[in-house]
């Protein structure tokens, strides 16, 4: 396990309210917690508990209605769209349940996307993309393929490679095994554990206890609030079960 050090993320009483006409829905009802560099945590909760909303807030994809979010001690709640895009590009890597790879692009181009946004020339991007793919257990033969020519597990590893290619501070994974069979889920979780051992901060949103038990801390979310923090049982981690 890596050394746990300073805070990467801190949420202070974050509230998210959705308004559709006169209907008001609470996504988050005052969430406060922090994540330290090198941590691997999971957020669990039933459907509608606010897991994805919380991940969107941490990932700067959405703005809180109230409260503050600090990323590397910077208050990001009031930053412009452009500044948020800059931080997402440099400090955050996303992994989605649906992989969200672009099928008309090759695997290589998909992994390169964050570097394209950064304006890095192709000859510098390619070695970084190849390194990222190999570090998640991918194969060079995938590079010229289209994502839909790969299995689900392989696609998710490509998505993880895309998330880490820009050397982000933190990886946010939203139900990363939700679309995978058990064998592929194991591989994906092994990949996350390996990255975490190398010092990568990772937050995983899941409803699967076997996934949550692979992390170092489980936050339970209910009705838009943190209902508790649970220590995982590593023996029930998907990697250690039959």
């Amino acid at each position: 396990m890596s050394t746990v050090s300073e805070e990467v993320i801190r949420l202070e009483n974050v509230v998210k309210i959705y308004r559709v006409g006169e209907v008001v829905t609470y996504g988050l009802r005052g969430v406060s917690f922090s994540v330290r560099r090198g941590e691997l945590i999971s957020i669990m909760g039933p459907s509608g508990s606010g897991k994805s909303t919380l991940l969107n807030m941490i990932g700067l994809l959405d703005r809180p209605t109230k409260g503050k979010i600090y990323l590397d001690s910077i208050d990001v709640s009031k930053l412009s769209d452009r500044q948020l895009a800059y931080i997402r590009n440099r400090k955050i890597g996303f992994v989605f349940q649906q992989f969200n790879l672009i099928n008309r692009l090759t695997v290589l181009e998909n992994i390169e996307l964050p570097l394209i946004a950064r304006g890095i020339p192709r000859h510098q991007r390619i070695p970084l993309a190849v390194k990222a793919l190999l570090s998640v257990g991918g194969d060079k033969s995938w590079l010229r393929k289209r994502p839909n020519q790969l299995s689900g597990g392989q696609q998710q590893r490509v998505a993880i490679a895309r998330a880490i290619v820009g050397s982000p501070e933190i990886i946010l994974a939203d139900e990363p095994t939700g679309n995978l069979d058990r064998a592929s889920s194991k591989i994906v979780m092994e990949t996350f554990l390996k990255l975490n051992e190398q010092g990568q901060t990772i937050i995983i949103v899941t409803h699967d206890p076997e996934v949550a038990n692979c992390t170092r801390k489980i936050y339970l979310l209910r009705d838009g609030k943190i209902a508790g923090i649970v220590d995982p049982d590593p023996s029930k981690c998907i990697i250690n079960t039959v």
Partner: protein, 407 residues
């Protein structure tokens, strides 16, 4: 956004278009119609305009023709009055009548022009004697004939210097009776080929001395008076002064004035062509917008992913705009190419003007100028920008969390 990103955006735009090939091709066809219409029509109209203008200029930049209208009879008094106008170099009355002449096996219509021939040479700089010489004004039976009279359509010479030719003149007398007059004249000189002159064709003209008009052709009244200005810049003021002198009793024609009128007509035609093409461009804008809106809707989730990995709103806007720009540039390229081909095909048919029995065929290459091509490219780029800007703006403004949830 740096240069690397711009190139990457264009490359990704091309990939996106190849994915939706049929839709892109149909949109490109829609875009190409405007440039085809604009390049074809504008270049042909401008080509004809240039041709007519150059022909008129060759006919005499300094020449003004005064012809009587109605009952007004031109006389020596008019010649004296015209000579007094400042800037007038020379004033000569002339006779002109239509005649027929046998050229090879055919009887063909020609124009008999009784005028001091040296004046014609002075006014029309391109005119040259091919054979023989210009007869003196006292040698009334000696004439100079145009190239197309001396040579038949196959290029065989049918009249030589020293030959006698017969001019047949049909005249409608008072009471409607038609009289036929045959006049034999002697060829003293043959003109070199002048080319397809527009109003007056020296190639199909017999030039006689002024006295021959009265004595040989039997013409009583002058057909008109030729006024030669000392400087081409004085032509229009002199023309204006003559008009004011005669209050509509004479027609005053200068080739420069006609050129000006034709230029204004072709300018108007050019404007109409341009306006018509704009309609095609407007349709193209709608086509591009429809294609790009559909494309954006289909890719909202993809746009969400791009934003999640750090693309800024401006980068997303440029990427979508790059697609419409690539389509419009390809469409423009195809349209301009087809427009150039179409212009050459259209111009090769020629443009026929029929006035009574006279038929003039204008055949001129299309005027494909860098200005026309650059303007067309400019409009086509605008089509891409205008058609793509709204969908691109919409894509750029989608909140990333909303885009990622989009099904």
């Amino acid at each position: 956004m740096n240069i690397t990103f711009l190139f990457d955006a264009l490359r990704l735009a091309l990939k996106a278009l190849t994915e939706r090939r049929l839709r892109a091709i149909l949109t490109i066809i829609g875009i190409a119609i405007g440039p085809i219409a604009l390049v074809t029509m504008s270049s042909v109209v401008r080509g004809y305009s240039n041709y007519v203008t150059s022909q008129l200029e060759a006919l005499g930049q300094n020449l003004i023709v005064v012809q009587s209208t109605g009952n007004y009879r031109l006389s020596e008094d008019d010649v004296d009055a015209l000579k007094k106008i400042p800037g007038v170099k020379r004033v000569e009355p002339y006779y002109m009548i239509k005649a027929t002449i046998k050229i090879g096996a055919e009887n063909e219509d020609i124009i008999a022009y009784a005028v001091p021939i040296d004046l014609i040479f002075e006014a029309m700089s391109g005119l040259k004697i091919l054979e023989g010489s210009i007869p003196s004004q006292t040698e009334i039976i000696k004439v100079v004939i145009g190239y197309d009279i001396a040579f038949d359509e196959n290029g065989n010479q049918v009249y030589y210097v020293g030959d006698t030719i017969t001019l047949t003149i049909y005249k409608v007398e008072e009471g409607g009776k038609v009289s036929i007059k045959r006049v034999n004249v002697l060829v003293a000189g043959i003109l070199d080929k002048f080319g397809g002159a527009f109003f007056l064709s020296p190639d199909r003209t017999v030039f006689l001395s002024p006295d021959a008009g009265k004595k040989l052709l039997g013409l009583k009244d002058w057909s008109g008076i030729l006024v030669l200005a000392s400087n081409s810049k004085l032509v229009l003021p002199i023309e204006q002064e003559i008009r004011e002198m005669y209050h509509g009793n004479v027609d005053v024609i200068s080739f420069q004035g006609i050129a000006k009128v034709i230029n204004s007509i072709t300018g108007a035609m050019d404007f109409i062509t341009f306006s018509t093409s704009l309609a095609a461009f407007a349709v193209a804008i709608a086509g591009v917008a429809a294609t790009m809106i559909t494309s954006v809707i289909e890719r909202i989730r993809e746009i969400g992913v791009m934003k999640a990995v750090g693309f800024t709103n401006n980068q997303v806007l440029f990427m979508i705009l790059a697609e419409s720009l690539v389509m419009s540039i390809i469409g423009g390229g195809i349209g301009i190419t087809l427009g150039v081909i179409g212009a050459y095909i259209l111009a090769s048919k020629g443009f026929t003007i029929k006035a009574g029995t006279t038929t003039v065929v204008i055949s001129a290459p299309p005027a494909i100028t860098p200005e026309l091509i650059l303007n067309t490219i400019g409009i086509v780029v605008l089509v891409g920008i205008i058609g793509g800007i709204f969908p691109a703006y919409r894509a750029a403004k989608i909140p990333p969390a909303v885009a990622l949830r989009y099904e």
